[in-house]
Protein backbone atom coordinates (compact mmCIF):
# COMPACT_ATOMS: atom_id res chain seq x y z
CA UNK A 1 0.00 0.00 0.00
CA UNK A 2 2.82 2.36 0.96
CA UNK A 3 4.66 1.39 -2.21
CA UNK A 4 1.58 2.10 -4.33
CA UNK A 5 1.17 5.53 -2.69
CA UNK A 6 4.83 6.21 -3.37
CA UNK A 7 4.34 5.35 -7.04
CA UNK A 8 1.21 7.54 -7.29
CA UNK A 9 3.12 10.50 -5.85
CA UNK A 10 6.13 9.92 -8.11
CA UNK A 11 3.97 9.74 -11.26
CA UNK A 12 1.93 12.78 -10.16
CA UNK A 13 5.07 14.77 -9.42
CA UNK A 14 6.50 13.92 -12.82
CA UNK A 15 3.42 15.30 -14.55
CA UNK A 16 3.40 18.50 -12.52
CA UNK A 17 7.13 19.04 -13.17
CA UNK A 18 6.53 18.52 -16.88
CA UNK A 19 3.83 21.21 -16.83
CA UNK A 20 6.05 23.72 -15.01
CA UNK A 21 8.76 23.23 -17.67
CA UNK A 22 6.43 23.58 -20.62
CA UNK A 23 6.23 27.37 -21.04
CA UNK A 24 4.03 27.43 -24.19
CA UNK A 25 1.54 25.14 -22.43
CA UNK A 26 1.48 27.42 -19.37
CA UNK A 27 0.92 30.46 -21.57
CA UNK A 28 -1.93 28.87 -23.53
CA UNK A 29 -3.57 27.43 -20.44
CA UNK A 30 -3.77 30.91 -18.88
CA UNK A 31 -4.50 32.86 -22.04
CA UNK A 32 -7.56 30.91 -23.20
CA UNK A 33 -9.57 31.20 -19.95
CA UNK A 34 -8.64 34.88 -19.80
CA UNK A 35 -10.02 35.34 -23.30
CA UNK A 36 -13.21 33.46 -22.43
CA UNK A 37 -13.86 35.44 -19.27
CA UNK A 38 -12.64 38.80 -20.53
CA UNK A 39 -14.23 38.82 -23.98
CA UNK A 40 -17.18 36.46 -23.69
CA UNK A 41 -18.07 37.21 -20.08
CA UNK A 42 -17.50 40.95 -20.54
CA UNK A 43 -19.49 41.07 -23.77
CA UNK A 44 -22.43 39.11 -22.41
CA UNK A 45 -22.43 41.16 -19.23
CA UNK A 46 -22.63 44.41 -21.18
CA UNK A 47 -25.45 43.22 -23.45
CA UNK A 48 -27.55 40.65 -21.63
CA UNK A 49 -27.12 41.15 -17.88
CA UNK A 50 -30.19 43.36 -17.48
CA UNK A 51 -32.46 40.90 -19.31
CA UNK A 52 -30.99 37.80 -17.65
CA UNK A 53 -31.12 39.21 -14.15
CA UNK A 54 -27.68 38.03 -13.05
CA UNK A 55 -24.03 39.01 -13.47
CA UNK A 56 -22.72 37.34 -16.63
CA UNK A 57 -19.09 37.98 -15.81
CA UNK A 58 -19.34 35.96 -12.60
CA UNK A 59 -21.48 33.35 -14.37
CA UNK A 60 -18.88 32.80 -17.11
CA UNK A 61 -16.04 32.98 -14.57
CA UNK A 62 -17.36 30.04 -12.52
CA UNK A 63 -18.22 28.13 -15.68
CA UNK A 64 -14.72 28.58 -17.11
CA UNK A 65 -13.19 27.66 -13.76
CA UNK A 66 -15.02 24.31 -13.80
CA UNK A 67 -14.29 23.80 -17.50
CA UNK A 68 -10.56 24.44 -17.02
CA UNK A 69 -10.38 21.96 -14.14
CA UNK A 70 -12.33 19.30 -16.05
CA UNK A 71 -10.75 19.75 -19.47
CA UNK A 72 -7.17 20.26 -18.34
CA UNK A 73 -7.16 17.04 -16.31
CA UNK A 74 -8.91 15.11 -19.08
CA UNK A 75 -6.45 16.22 -21.76
CA UNK A 76 -3.52 15.72 -19.38
CA UNK A 77 -4.53 12.10 -18.80
CA UNK A 78 -4.90 11.69 -22.55
CA UNK A 79 -1.16 12.44 -22.76
CA UNK A 80 -0.66 8.78 -21.76
CA UNK A 81 -1.14 8.18 -25.50
CA UNK A 82 1.85 10.42 -26.14
CA UNK A 83 3.78 8.47 -23.50
CA UNK A 84 2.79 5.25 -25.19
CA UNK A 85 3.99 6.48 -28.57
CA UNK A 86 7.28 7.66 -27.08
CA UNK A 87 7.42 4.30 -25.34
CA UNK A 88 7.73 5.99 -21.97
CA UNK A 89 4.56 4.29 -20.72
CA UNK A 90 6.37 0.94 -21.11
CA UNK A 91 8.63 1.97 -18.25
CA UNK A 92 5.64 2.49 -16.00
CA UNK A 93 3.90 -0.65 -17.20
CA UNK A 94 6.84 -2.98 -16.46
CA UNK A 95 7.20 -1.52 -12.95
CA UNK A 96 5.78 -3.58 -10.06
CA UNK A 97 2.87 -1.23 -9.36
CA UNK A 98 -0.84 -1.66 -9.84
CA UNK A 99 -2.23 -0.33 -13.11
CA UNK A 100 -4.77 1.57 -11.03
CA UNK A 101 -1.91 3.35 -9.24
CA UNK A 102 -0.41 4.41 -12.57
CA UNK A 103 -3.72 5.86 -13.73
CA UNK A 104 -4.41 7.41 -10.32
CA UNK A 105 -0.92 8.94 -10.29
CA UNK A 106 -1.55 10.39 -13.73
CA UNK A 107 -4.92 11.83 -12.66
CA UNK A 108 -3.46 13.23 -9.43
CA UNK A 109 -0.62 14.93 -11.29
CA UNK A 110 -2.96 16.41 -13.86
CA UNK A 111 -5.30 17.54 -11.06
CA UNK A 112 -2.44 19.58 -9.61
CA UNK A 113 -1.73 20.97 -13.08
CA UNK A 114 -5.37 21.99 -13.49
CA UNK A 115 -5.45 23.54 -9.99
CA UNK A 116 -2.43 25.67 -10.95
CA UNK A 117 -4.32 26.76 -14.05
CA UNK A 118 -7.43 27.42 -11.97
CA UNK A 119 -5.37 29.70 -9.72
CA UNK A 120 -4.52 31.72 -12.84
CA UNK A 121 -8.21 31.90 -13.76
CA UNK A 122 -9.12 33.13 -10.28
CA UNK A 123 -6.42 35.83 -10.32
CA UNK A 124 -7.65 37.00 -13.72
CA UNK A 125 -11.28 36.92 -12.53
CA UNK A 126 -10.46 39.06 -9.51
CA UNK A 127 -8.53 41.46 -11.73
CA UNK A 128 -11.54 42.02 -14.01
CA UNK A 129 -13.89 42.59 -11.08
CA UNK A 130 -15.50 39.22 -10.30
CA UNK A 131 -16.51 39.11 -6.65
CA UNK A 132 -15.19 36.13 -4.72
CA UNK A 133 -15.51 35.98 -0.95
CA UNK A 134 -13.26 33.89 1.26
CA UNK A 135 -16.19 31.55 2.00
CA UNK A 136 -16.88 31.04 -1.72
CA UNK A 137 -13.19 30.42 -2.36
CA UNK A 138 -12.98 27.80 0.40
CA UNK A 139 -16.06 26.01 -0.93
CA UNK A 140 -14.71 26.01 -4.48
CA UNK A 141 -11.37 24.35 -3.59
CA UNK A 142 -12.66 20.86 -2.61
CA UNK A 143 -15.28 21.03 -5.36
CA UNK A 144 -12.55 21.94 -7.85
CA UNK A 145 -10.49 18.89 -6.87
CA UNK A 146 -13.53 16.65 -7.38
CA UNK A 147 -14.26 18.25 -10.75
CA UNK A 148 -10.64 17.69 -11.82
CA UNK A 149 -10.83 14.04 -10.73
CA UNK A 150 -14.03 13.63 -12.80
CA UNK A 151 -12.23 15.15 -15.79
CA UNK A 152 -9.33 12.73 -15.28
CA UNK A 153 -11.63 9.73 -15.05
CA UNK A 154 -13.48 10.92 -18.17
CA UNK A 155 -10.09 11.27 -19.89
CA UNK A 156 -9.04 7.71 -19.09
CA UNK A 157 -12.33 6.36 -20.44
CA UNK A 158 -11.84 8.27 -23.70
CA UNK A 159 -8.19 7.21 -23.85
CA UNK A 160 -9.07 3.55 -23.36
CA UNK A 161 -11.13 3.69 -26.52
CA UNK A 162 -8.67 5.54 -28.72
CA UNK A 163 -5.68 3.86 -30.29
CA UNK A 164 -3.19 6.56 -31.13
CA UNK A 165 -2.32 10.22 -30.92
CA UNK A 166 -3.79 11.00 -34.33
CA UNK A 167 -7.14 9.55 -33.34
CA UNK A 168 -6.98 11.46 -30.05
CA UNK A 169 -6.45 14.71 -31.95
CA UNK A 170 -9.47 13.94 -34.13
CA UNK A 171 -11.89 12.59 -31.52
CA UNK A 172 -11.07 14.38 -28.27
CA UNK A 173 -12.22 17.85 -29.41
CA UNK A 174 -15.50 16.25 -30.53
CA UNK A 175 -16.24 14.88 -27.08
CA UNK A 176 -15.00 17.91 -25.15
CA UNK A 177 -16.03 21.10 -27.02
CA UNK A 178 -19.77 20.37 -27.34
CA UNK A 179 -19.77 19.91 -23.57
CA UNK A 180 -18.79 23.61 -23.16
CA UNK A 181 -22.21 24.57 -24.46
CA UNK A 182 -24.20 21.57 -23.21
CA UNK A 183 -22.83 22.11 -19.69
CA UNK A 184 -23.56 25.86 -19.84
CA UNK A 185 -20.04 27.13 -19.34
CA UNK A 186 -20.89 30.40 -21.14
CA UNK A 187 -24.65 30.09 -21.61
CA UNK A 188 -27.60 29.46 -19.29
CA UNK A 189 -29.13 26.00 -19.74
CA UNK A 190 -32.00 26.16 -17.28
CA UNK A 191 -34.38 26.04 -20.24
CA UNK A 192 -33.55 23.78 -23.19
CA UNK A 193 -35.46 22.00 -25.97
CA UNK A 194 -35.95 18.27 -25.19
CA UNK A 195 -33.12 16.84 -27.33
CA UNK A 196 -30.64 19.40 -26.02
CA UNK A 197 -31.88 18.73 -22.51
CA UNK A 198 -31.03 15.02 -22.88
CA UNK A 199 -27.60 15.77 -24.35
CA UNK A 200 -26.93 18.35 -21.66
CA UNK A 201 -27.73 15.94 -18.84
CA UNK A 202 -25.67 13.22 -20.50
CA UNK A 203 -22.58 15.45 -20.53
CA UNK A 204 -20.41 14.86 -17.43
CA UNK A 205 -19.15 18.45 -17.51
CA UNK A 206 -22.72 19.64 -16.77
CA UNK A 207 -22.51 18.32 -13.20
CA UNK A 208 -19.02 19.76 -12.76
CA UNK A 209 -20.11 23.26 -13.81
CA UNK A 210 -23.35 23.02 -11.82
CA UNK A 211 -21.57 21.90 -8.64
CA UNK A 212 -19.19 24.83 -8.82
CA UNK A 213 -22.02 27.30 -9.53
CA UNK A 214 -24.18 25.79 -6.77
CA UNK A 215 -21.39 26.44 -4.28
CA UNK A 216 -20.52 29.88 -5.65
CA UNK A 217 -24.13 31.08 -5.67
CA UNK A 218 -25.16 29.32 -2.42
CA UNK A 219 -27.74 31.49 -0.69
CA UNK A 220 -27.71 34.16 -3.44
CA UNK A 221 -30.95 35.58 -4.90
CA UNK A 222 -30.09 34.57 -8.50
CA UNK A 223 -29.42 30.90 -7.62
CA UNK A 224 -32.59 29.62 -9.33
CA UNK A 225 -31.66 31.37 -12.56
CA UNK A 226 -28.16 29.86 -12.84
CA UNK A 227 -28.10 26.58 -10.91
CA UNK A 228 -29.79 23.32 -11.99
CA UNK A 229 -29.45 20.94 -9.04
CA UNK A 230 -28.63 20.94 -5.35
CA UNK A 231 -24.85 20.58 -4.76
CA UNK A 232 -25.44 17.24 -2.99
CA UNK A 233 -27.11 15.85 -6.13
CA UNK A 234 -24.20 17.03 -8.27
CA UNK A 235 -21.74 15.63 -5.76
CA UNK A 236 -23.41 12.23 -5.83
CA UNK A 237 -23.47 12.15 -9.66
CA UNK A 238 -19.81 13.19 -9.83
CA UNK A 239 -18.69 10.52 -7.34
CA UNK A 240 -20.63 7.80 -9.20
CA UNK A 241 -19.40 8.91 -12.64
CA UNK A 242 -15.79 9.20 -11.44
CA UNK A 243 -15.87 5.70 -9.94
CA UNK A 244 -17.46 4.14 -13.03
CA UNK A 245 -15.26 5.99 -15.55
CA UNK A 246 -12.09 5.28 -13.59
CA UNK A 247 -12.76 1.56 -13.10
CA UNK A 248 -14.04 0.92 -16.61
CA UNK A 249 -11.43 3.14 -18.26
CA UNK A 250 -8.52 1.53 -16.43
CA UNK A 251 -9.70 -2.01 -17.14
CA UNK A 252 -10.18 -1.22 -20.83
CA UNK A 253 -6.91 0.69 -21.08
CA UNK A 254 -4.83 -2.04 -19.46
CA UNK A 255 -6.51 -4.73 -21.54
CA UNK A 256 -5.85 -2.76 -24.70
CA UNK A 257 -2.20 -2.25 -23.72
CA UNK A 258 -1.50 -5.96 -23.19
CA UNK A 259 -3.97 -7.65 -25.48
CA UNK A 260 -2.80 -6.63 -28.93
Amino acid sequence: MKHELNAILAIAYRDFTKFLRDKPRILISFALPALFIGILGGGLQANLADTAGFNFLAFVFVGVLAQVLFQSTASGVISLVEDREQDFSQVMFVAPVSRYSIILGKITGETFVSLAQAAGVIIFGLAVGVSLSFGQFMRLIPAGILVAMLGGAFGILVLANLGNQQRVRQIFPLVIFPQFFLAGVFNPITRLPPFLFILSRAAPMTYAVDLMRGLYYAGAAETDKVVLYHPMTNLLVIVVLTTVFLSLGTILFVRRERNR
Binding site: L5, L9, T17, K18, R21, V91, F93, V94, P96, V97
Partner: protein, 325 residues
Protein backbone atom coordinates in the same frame (compact mmCIF):
# COMPACT_ATOMS: atom_id res chain seq x y z
CA UNK B 1 18.26 -25.36 -9.56
CA UNK B 2 15.22 -23.56 -10.97
CA UNK B 3 15.72 -21.73 -14.25
CA UNK B 4 15.61 -17.95 -14.41
CA UNK B 5 13.44 -18.10 -17.53
CA UNK B 6 11.22 -21.01 -18.56
CA UNK B 7 9.22 -20.77 -21.75
CA UNK B 8 6.95 -23.66 -22.73
CA UNK B 9 5.09 -23.86 -26.03
CA UNK B 10 4.75 -20.11 -26.30
CA UNK B 11 2.40 -18.89 -29.04
CA UNK B 12 1.44 -15.34 -29.94
CA UNK B 13 -0.96 -14.38 -32.68
CA UNK B 14 -1.74 -10.67 -32.97
CA UNK B 15 -5.30 -9.53 -33.51
CA UNK B 16 -6.29 -9.50 -37.18
CA UNK B 17 -3.25 -11.55 -38.11
CA UNK B 18 -3.49 -14.78 -40.06
CA UNK B 19 -0.31 -16.34 -38.70
CA UNK B 20 1.53 -16.66 -35.43
CA UNK B 21 4.23 -14.09 -34.69
CA UNK B 22 5.70 -16.60 -32.22
CA UNK B 23 4.87 -20.17 -33.04
CA UNK B 24 5.19 -22.74 -30.26
CA UNK B 25 8.66 -22.01 -28.93
CA UNK B 26 10.17 -23.55 -25.78
CA UNK B 27 13.47 -22.78 -24.10
CA UNK B 28 14.93 -22.11 -20.68
CA UNK B 29 17.68 -19.91 -19.30
CA UNK B 30 19.70 -20.88 -16.25
CA UNK B 31 20.10 -18.47 -13.37
CA UNK B 32 23.10 -16.22 -13.83
CA UNK B 33 23.49 -17.19 -17.49
CA UNK B 34 24.01 -14.90 -20.44
CA UNK B 35 21.39 -15.80 -23.04
CA UNK B 36 21.15 -14.25 -26.49
CA UNK B 37 18.08 -14.26 -28.71
CA UNK B 38 18.96 -13.66 -32.34
CA UNK B 39 16.93 -13.35 -35.48
CA UNK B 40 16.26 -11.03 -38.41
CA UNK B 41 13.73 -8.19 -38.19
CA UNK B 42 10.21 -9.55 -37.80
CA UNK B 43 11.44 -12.93 -36.56
CA UNK B 44 9.54 -12.63 -33.26
CA UNK B 45 12.30 -11.39 -30.92
CA UNK B 46 10.52 -8.27 -29.67
CA UNK B 47 7.21 -10.12 -29.39
CA UNK B 48 8.93 -12.77 -27.23
CA UNK B 49 10.65 -10.20 -25.03
CA UNK B 50 7.40 -8.20 -24.65
CA UNK B 51 5.58 -11.31 -23.40
CA UNK B 52 8.44 -12.20 -21.06
CA UNK B 53 8.44 -8.68 -19.62
CA UNK B 54 4.63 -8.77 -19.05
CA UNK B 55 3.76 -5.93 -21.45
CA UNK B 56 2.08 -8.21 -23.99
CA UNK B 57 -0.44 -11.00 -23.47
CA UNK B 58 0.42 -14.37 -24.96
CA UNK B 59 -2.04 -16.46 -26.96
CA UNK B 60 -1.05 -19.75 -25.28
CA UNK B 61 1.80 -21.52 -23.53
CA UNK B 62 3.46 -20.80 -20.22
CA UNK B 63 6.17 -18.39 -19.12
CA UNK B 64 7.91 -18.42 -15.73
CA UNK B 65 10.48 -15.86 -14.65
CA UNK B 66 12.57 -16.13 -11.49
CA UNK B 67 10.17 -18.88 -10.42
CA UNK B 68 6.99 -16.80 -10.90
CA UNK B 69 4.23 -17.25 -13.46
CA UNK B 70 4.15 -14.22 -15.77
CA UNK B 71 0.34 -14.16 -15.78
CA UNK B 72 -0.57 -15.02 -12.21
CA UNK B 73 2.29 -13.24 -10.40
CA UNK B 74 2.89 -10.25 -12.64
CA UNK B 75 4.08 -7.89 -9.91
CA UNK B 76 6.50 -10.49 -8.49
CA UNK B 77 7.93 -10.93 -11.99
CA UNK B 78 8.13 -7.17 -12.60
CA UNK B 79 9.99 -6.59 -9.34
CA UNK B 80 12.67 -9.06 -10.42
CA UNK B 81 13.28 -7.94 -13.97
CA UNK B 82 14.86 -4.93 -15.60
CA UNK B 83 14.13 -3.98 -19.19
CA UNK B 84 16.15 -1.88 -21.58
CA UNK B 85 13.68 -1.39 -24.41
CA UNK B 86 14.54 -1.34 -28.08
CA UNK B 87 13.07 2.14 -28.55
CA UNK B 88 14.08 4.93 -26.15
CA UNK B 89 11.85 5.05 -23.10
CA UNK B 90 12.97 8.15 -21.23
CA UNK B 91 10.99 11.21 -20.26
CA UNK B 92 12.70 13.90 -22.32
CA UNK B 93 11.24 16.71 -20.20
CA UNK B 94 13.04 15.53 -17.07
CA UNK B 95 16.72 15.54 -16.17
CA UNK B 96 18.70 12.30 -16.18
CA UNK B 97 18.61 12.10 -12.39
CA UNK B 98 14.86 12.76 -12.31
CA UNK B 99 14.33 9.85 -14.70
CA UNK B 100 16.39 7.61 -12.42
CA UNK B 101 14.56 8.85 -9.30
CA UNK B 102 11.16 8.20 -10.88
CA UNK B 103 12.25 4.65 -11.65
CA UNK B 104 13.58 4.10 -8.12
CA UNK B 105 10.25 5.20 -6.68
CA UNK B 106 8.18 3.10 -9.06
CA UNK B 107 10.18 0.09 -7.83
CA UNK B 108 9.65 1.09 -4.19
CA UNK B 109 13.38 1.46 -3.53
CA UNK B 110 13.04 4.79 -1.72
CA UNK B 111 10.14 6.85 -0.37
CA UNK B 112 8.96 9.71 -2.56
CA UNK B 113 11.08 12.84 -2.35
CA UNK B 114 10.55 15.82 -4.68
CA UNK B 115 14.25 16.75 -4.94
CA UNK B 116 17.63 15.02 -5.33
CA UNK B 117 18.96 16.83 -2.24
CA UNK B 118 16.28 15.15 -0.12
CA UNK B 119 17.17 11.63 -1.26
CA UNK B 120 19.04 9.25 1.06
CA UNK B 121 22.80 8.89 0.81
CA UNK B 122 22.54 5.30 -0.44
CA UNK B 123 20.53 6.49 -3.46
CA UNK B 124 23.09 9.16 -4.32
CA UNK B 125 25.94 6.66 -4.04
CA UNK B 126 24.25 4.09 -6.25
CA UNK B 127 23.40 6.69 -8.91
CA UNK B 128 26.98 8.01 -8.86
CA UNK B 129 28.46 4.50 -9.08
CA UNK B 130 26.34 3.51 -12.06
CA UNK B 131 26.72 6.87 -13.81
CA UNK B 132 30.50 6.65 -13.40
CA UNK B 133 30.67 3.26 -15.05
CA UNK B 134 28.82 4.50 -18.12
CA UNK B 135 30.48 7.92 -18.12
CA UNK B 136 27.42 10.11 -17.67
CA UNK B 137 28.03 11.45 -14.16
CA UNK B 138 28.68 15.01 -15.35
CA UNK B 139 25.38 15.05 -17.22
CA UNK B 140 23.12 13.73 -14.47
CA UNK B 141 21.39 17.05 -13.89
CA UNK B 142 20.92 18.00 -17.52
CA UNK B 143 17.56 17.60 -19.29
CA UNK B 144 17.48 14.35 -21.24
CA UNK B 145 16.34 16.15 -24.41
CA UNK B 146 19.88 17.61 -24.66
CA UNK B 147 21.44 14.09 -24.62
CA UNK B 148 22.78 12.32 -27.68
CA UNK B 149 21.28 8.94 -28.65
CA UNK B 150 24.19 7.07 -27.10
CA UNK B 151 23.92 8.95 -23.80
CA UNK B 152 20.21 8.29 -23.62
CA UNK B 153 20.90 4.58 -24.01
CA UNK B 154 23.46 4.67 -21.22
CA UNK B 155 20.99 6.47 -18.98
CA UNK B 156 18.36 3.81 -19.61
CA UNK B 157 20.83 1.14 -18.57
CA UNK B 158 21.79 3.04 -15.39
CA UNK B 159 18.11 3.42 -14.58
CA UNK B 160 17.35 -0.25 -15.12
CA UNK B 161 20.22 -1.43 -12.94
CA UNK B 162 19.03 0.70 -9.99
CA UNK B 163 16.81 -2.02 -8.56
CA UNK B 164 19.40 -4.80 -9.08
CA UNK B 165 17.15 -7.01 -11.20
CA UNK B 166 17.59 -10.79 -11.11
CA UNK B 167 17.03 -10.88 -14.87
CA UNK B 168 18.01 -8.02 -17.13
CA UNK B 169 16.36 -7.92 -20.54
CA UNK B 170 18.34 -5.99 -23.10
CA UNK B 171 16.52 -5.47 -26.38
CA UNK B 172 19.27 -4.40 -28.78
CA UNK B 173 20.84 -2.23 -26.08
CA UNK B 174 24.06 -1.10 -27.71
CA UNK B 175 22.48 0.35 -30.84
CA UNK B 176 23.82 3.88 -31.10
CA UNK B 177 26.65 3.42 -28.59
CA UNK B 178 30.22 4.17 -29.60
CA UNK B 179 32.68 1.23 -29.41
CA UNK B 180 34.25 2.43 -26.14
CA UNK B 181 30.88 2.83 -24.40
CA UNK B 182 29.83 -0.57 -25.72
CA UNK B 183 32.98 -2.14 -24.31
CA UNK B 184 32.49 -0.36 -20.94
CA UNK B 185 28.91 -1.54 -20.79
CA UNK B 186 29.75 -5.17 -21.45
CA UNK B 187 32.58 -5.07 -18.92
CA UNK B 188 30.23 -3.69 -16.31
CA UNK B 189 27.50 -6.18 -17.13
CA UNK B 190 30.02 -9.02 -16.86
CA UNK B 191 31.03 -7.73 -13.42
CA UNK B 192 27.42 -7.42 -12.25
CA UNK B 193 26.72 -10.91 -13.50
CA UNK B 194 29.65 -12.28 -11.57
CA UNK B 195 28.96 -10.29 -8.39
CA UNK B 196 25.20 -10.60 -8.20
CA UNK B 197 24.42 -13.66 -10.27
CA UNK B 198 22.26 -11.58 -12.59
CA UNK B 199 20.81 -13.33 -15.64
CA UNK B 200 21.15 -11.45 -18.90
CA UNK B 201 18.66 -11.95 -21.69
CA UNK B 202 19.87 -10.15 -24.80
CA UNK B 203 18.59 -9.50 -28.27
CA UNK B 204 21.12 -7.86 -30.50
CA UNK B 205 22.08 -7.03 -34.05
CA UNK B 206 25.77 -7.19 -33.11
CA UNK B 207 26.50 -10.87 -33.42
CA UNK B 208 29.92 -10.56 -31.84
CA UNK B 209 28.07 -9.65 -28.61
CA UNK B 210 26.29 -12.99 -28.75
CA UNK B 211 29.58 -14.86 -29.27
CA UNK B 212 30.27 -14.57 -25.54
CA UNK B 213 26.79 -15.77 -24.55
CA UNK B 214 26.42 -19.04 -22.64
CA UNK B 215 23.56 -20.00 -24.91
CA UNK B 216 22.13 -18.61 -28.10
CA UNK B 217 18.65 -19.05 -29.52
CA UNK B 218 18.11 -18.15 -33.15
CA UNK B 219 14.52 -17.59 -34.15
CA UNK B 220 13.13 -16.98 -37.58
CA UNK B 221 9.50 -16.73 -38.72
CA UNK B 222 8.47 -17.21 -35.08
CA UNK B 223 10.09 -20.63 -34.65
CA UNK B 224 13.39 -21.69 -33.12
CA UNK B 225 15.95 -22.34 -35.84
CA UNK B 226 18.87 -23.15 -33.53
CA UNK B 227 19.43 -23.33 -29.79
CA UNK B 228 22.65 -24.09 -27.92
CA UNK B 229 26.15 -22.87 -27.11
CA UNK B 230 27.56 -20.50 -29.76
CA UNK B 231 30.36 -23.01 -30.53
CA UNK B 232 27.85 -25.85 -30.98
CA UNK B 233 25.69 -23.74 -33.27
CA UNK B 234 28.74 -22.77 -35.28
CA UNK B 235 29.73 -26.42 -35.66
CA UNK B 236 26.25 -27.59 -36.36
CA UNK B 237 25.50 -25.01 -38.98
CA UNK B 238 28.75 -24.57 -40.83
CA UNK B 239 31.69 -26.57 -42.04
CA UNK B 240 35.17 -26.17 -40.59
CA UNK B 241 37.72 -26.78 -43.34
CA UNK B 242 41.34 -26.34 -44.38
CA UNK B 243 42.24 -24.17 -47.32
CA UNK B 244 45.30 -25.59 -49.09
CA UNK B 245 47.09 -24.74 -52.29
CA UNK B 246 50.33 -25.64 -54.05
CA UNK B 247 52.17 -24.54 -57.19
CA UNK B 248 51.75 -28.10 -58.45
CA UNK B 249 47.95 -28.34 -58.32
CA UNK B 250 47.86 -31.79 -59.93
CA UNK B 251 50.31 -33.29 -57.39
CA UNK B 252 48.31 -31.86 -54.47
CA UNK B 253 45.06 -33.19 -55.92
CA UNK B 254 46.60 -36.68 -56.35
CA UNK B 255 47.92 -36.62 -52.80
CA UNK B 256 44.56 -35.58 -51.30
CA UNK B 257 42.95 -38.49 -53.19
CA UNK B 258 45.63 -40.89 -51.93
CA UNK B 259 45.10 -39.71 -48.32
CA UNK B 260 41.36 -40.17 -48.80
CA UNK B 261 40.57 -36.57 -47.79
CA UNK B 262 37.22 -35.15 -48.92
CA UNK B 263 37.93 -31.96 -50.83
CA UNK B 264 36.69 -29.63 -53.53
CA UNK B 265 38.12 -26.79 -55.56
CA UNK B 266 36.29 -23.90 -57.18
CA UNK B 267 37.84 -22.36 -60.32
CA UNK B 268 41.47 -21.42 -59.61
CA UNK B 269 41.00 -21.06 -55.86
CA UNK B 270 42.58 -23.19 -53.13
CA UNK B 271 41.45 -26.72 -52.25
CA UNK B 272 38.79 -26.90 -49.50
CA UNK B 273 39.53 -29.93 -47.32
CA UNK B 274 36.68 -30.88 -44.99
CA UNK B 275 38.03 -31.52 -41.51
CA UNK B 276 35.35 -33.57 -39.85
CA UNK B 277 36.90 -34.95 -36.67
CA UNK B 278 40.44 -35.05 -38.06
CA UNK B 279 43.27 -33.06 -36.61
CA UNK B 280 44.34 -30.29 -39.04
CA UNK B 281 47.99 -30.55 -37.94
CA UNK B 282 48.07 -34.29 -38.77
CA UNK B 283 46.64 -33.63 -42.23
CA UNK B 284 49.19 -30.94 -42.96
CA UNK B 285 52.05 -33.22 -41.78
CA UNK B 286 50.85 -36.06 -44.02
CA UNK B 287 50.96 -33.91 -47.18
CA UNK B 288 54.37 -34.03 -48.89
CA UNK B 289 53.60 -31.69 -51.82
CA UNK B 290 55.13 -28.27 -51.03
CA UNK B 291 52.25 -25.95 -50.03
CA UNK B 292 51.95 -22.37 -51.23
CA UNK B 293 48.86 -21.56 -49.12
CA UNK B 294 47.55 -22.86 -45.81
CA UNK B 295 44.60 -21.53 -43.82
CA UNK B 296 41.92 -22.89 -41.51
CA UNK B 297 38.36 -21.71 -41.97
CA UNK B 298 36.67 -21.57 -38.56
CA UNK B 299 33.38 -19.68 -39.11
CA UNK B 300 32.14 -17.03 -36.71
CA UNK B 301 28.68 -17.19 -35.21
CA UNK B 302 27.73 -14.42 -37.61
CA UNK B 303 28.71 -16.57 -40.60
CA UNK B 304 26.75 -19.49 -39.15
CA UNK B 305 23.80 -17.20 -38.57
CA UNK B 306 23.88 -15.68 -42.05
CA UNK B 307 24.12 -19.12 -43.59
CA UNK B 308 21.19 -20.42 -41.60
CA UNK B 309 18.93 -17.39 -42.16
CA UNK B 310 19.82 -17.50 -45.86
CA UNK B 311 18.78 -21.18 -46.04
CA UNK B 312 15.56 -20.38 -44.20
CA UNK B 313 14.63 -17.55 -46.54
CA UNK B 314 15.25 -19.80 -49.55
CA UNK B 315 13.14 -22.51 -47.94
CA UNK B 316 10.30 -20.03 -47.42
CA UNK B 317 10.50 -18.83 -51.00
CA UNK B 318 11.91 -15.42 -50.09
CA UNK B 319 14.42 -14.09 -52.55
CA UNK B 320 16.66 -11.11 -52.41
CA UNK B 321 16.10 -10.76 -48.67
CA UNK B 322 19.36 -10.33 -46.82
CA UNK B 323 19.08 -10.76 -43.06
CA UNK B 324 19.22 -7.61 -40.98
CA UNK B 325 22.37 -7.92 -38.93
Amino acid sequence: MESAVEVQNLVKRYKNSAKNAVDDISFSVERGAFFALLGPNGAGKTTTISILTTTLEKTSGSVRLAGYDSDRDQNAVRARIGVVFQSPSLDLNLTAEENIRLHAMLYGLYPFRPAYGMMPHTYKERVAELADVLGIRDSLFRPVKTFSGGMRRKLEIVRDLMHRPAILFLDEPTTGLDPLSRKNLWQYLARVRADEGMTIFLTTHYLEEAETADRVCIINHGVIAALGRPSDIRQELTEIYLLLDARDHAALARELMRLNLAHKREADGPFRVTLGKQNPAAIVQAIKTPLSHLAIHNPTLEEAYLEMIGRDEQHNGVTNAPPAV
